[in-house]
């Protein structure tokens, strides 16, 4: 009973926002993995795990995770001006059009769903107003930062949620493409846990202007996927 009493509503909010049942549309993305599948570039489960590490450590971690960390601090201080700056900066760092659009659509829908059950948070409402007025895009890491701050989810846990959900989305895409079996998927997620943790620790507290990314091979794959005529996933 004492353990149960220590569990707060905020922790249940972590479960709610990280649940794949929460509607953000991310199940429809593969981050370009589908192009690698058709070109038969991934030979086995270990190669897939190593690829996800590159995604996490060289693309999403030093960009989205840092954007989330800074946006979270701005949200806590109700600093809308800085929040919009962070939104515009991370939006401009997403090189692939379809990834920019998807991140924006997911973020916008996350906020809309949130404001269906949280109606009195001033910053949440003002940020949505800024998106409506086209001052901000509603890109996902910034939207998740606002949502996490609103629900009192700690910053580091918000970062873990985002990187974990991203990793799971690629494993899910691989599963639906038939690249692995369901137990393999869980094994990969288990093996990625230290990398997810390290990525969050390395990036969540860095300044916004120190964001970087270097995964040119993945950039090229994502460009190729975006242009595929026949595909099951959004890039």
């Amino acid at each position: 009973m004492s353990i149960e009493k220590e569990i707060s509503v905020d922790e249940i909010s972590i479960l709610q926002l990280s649940d794949s049942f929460f509607p953000t549309g991310m199940y429809a993305t593969s981050s370009g993995l589908e192009a690698l599948f058709y070109s038969k570039k991934i030979k086995d489960v270990n190669e897939l795990r190593d690829l996800i590490k590159v995604y996490v450590e060289n693309q999403i971690g030093p960009t989205d995770c840092t954007a989330l960390g800074n946006s979270y601090e701005y949200a806590k201080r109700a600093d809308l001006k800085r929040l919009i700056e962070a939104d515009q900066t991370i939006f401009s760092m997403k090189l692939i059009q379809e990834i920019r659009e998807t991140s924006t659509r997911s973020g916008t829908q996350l906020l809309r769903c949130m404001s269906y059950f949280i109606t009195d948070n001033e910053l949440l409402n003002k940020y949505q107003e800024a998106i409506k007025n086209r001052q901000a895009s509603g890109v996902y890491p910034v939207a998740l930062a606002v949502a996490s701050s609103t629900l009192n989810i700690p910053k580091r846990k918000a970062g873990l949620m985002m990187i974990y959900a991203f990793s799971v989305s690629i494993v899910g895409a691989a599963l639906r493409l038939g690249m692995l079996q369901h137990f393999d998927g869980q094994k990969i997620i288990h093996e990625l846990k230290p990398n997810i943790l390290e990525t969050v620790n390395n990036n969540i507290d860095r300044p916004l202007m120190s964001m970087w990314q270097f995964a040119p091979g993945i950039d090229i794959v994502q460009i190729a996927h975006e242009r595929m005529a026949s595909k099951m996933f959004i890039t």
Partner: protein, 220 residues
């Protein structure tokens, strides 16, 4: 995020049942009556349907601008894209509403089997489910969310009934019974037979006989 919601029709049905061809048939009829439509096509593995509709309805016939036909990938989960998590569809619909607020309707097409396919009311205001007779005359009797809950059931490819041993009278009888007399239409999308009746249902039951926006604007 949009200032005014444009009425939305969801058209669902199994792969190959004739969803795309139904849209290609009803859009010109609605256009003749002055109604302008935008189309979002949720494809399972390709953009082929969206590309075809864009070519047929926009590029060749000039019934709409090319940016009014949008193909959307669903990660292999078309049911999810229109029911459990319609986030991407709603975003695209709202972008269309912002850019083209003069549209009379937005048509959202999605593949999906008979058992689970329905549209979230947050996404679509009116739901057409289409099946084809080559699945057998047992199809309506076997029920399923799509057949039972749709606003209009369309049974396509009636010309094939004689070749697959499907009895259309049984399909009609069972459709009436399981749908408790909600409307259904027998069509042949290849020849256009029955399609006008589908558009009449849309104008009467979905648009409530509202005149096209362009006509209403001119009256003012």
């Amino acid at each position: 995020m949009s200032s005014k919601r444009i009425p939305r029709i969801g058209i669902g049905g199994p792969v190959g049942s004739g969803k795309t061809m139904l849209i290609e048939q009803i859009v010109p009829i609605l256009s003749d009556r002055g109604y302008r439509a935008g189309i979002i096509s949720n494809d399972v593995v390709s953009r082929e349907d969206a590309d075809r509709m864009r070519r047929n309805l926009a590029s060749e016939r000039g019934l709409m601008s090319e940016d009014l036909v949008i193909g959307l990938a669903t990660g292999g989960c078309p049911h999810t894209a229109v029911r459990e998590d319609p986030s991407m569809n709603i975003s695209v619909v709202e972008e269309m509403e912002l850019k083209h607020n003069d549209l009379d309707m937005i048509i959202i097409e999605s593949g999906g089997d008979n058992i689970t396919t329905t549209f979230s009311p947050a996404l679509a205001d009116y739901f057409i489910y289409i099946i084809d007779v080559s699945g057998g005359d047992k199809y309506p009797r076997k029920r399923g969310l799509g057949i039972e809950s749709c606003d209009l059931l369309v049974m396509n490819k009636i010309d094939l009934a004689q070749y697959v041993g499907a009895d259309l009278s049984i399909m009609e009888r069972d459709a009436q019974a399981v749908r408790e007399n909600k409307p259904y239409v027998l069509v042949n999308c290849r020849t256009g037979q029955g399609v006008k009746e589908v558009t009449e249902h849309i104008i009467r039951d979905f648009l409530f006989e509202s005149p096209p926006k362009a006509v209403a604007k001119n009256r003012v």
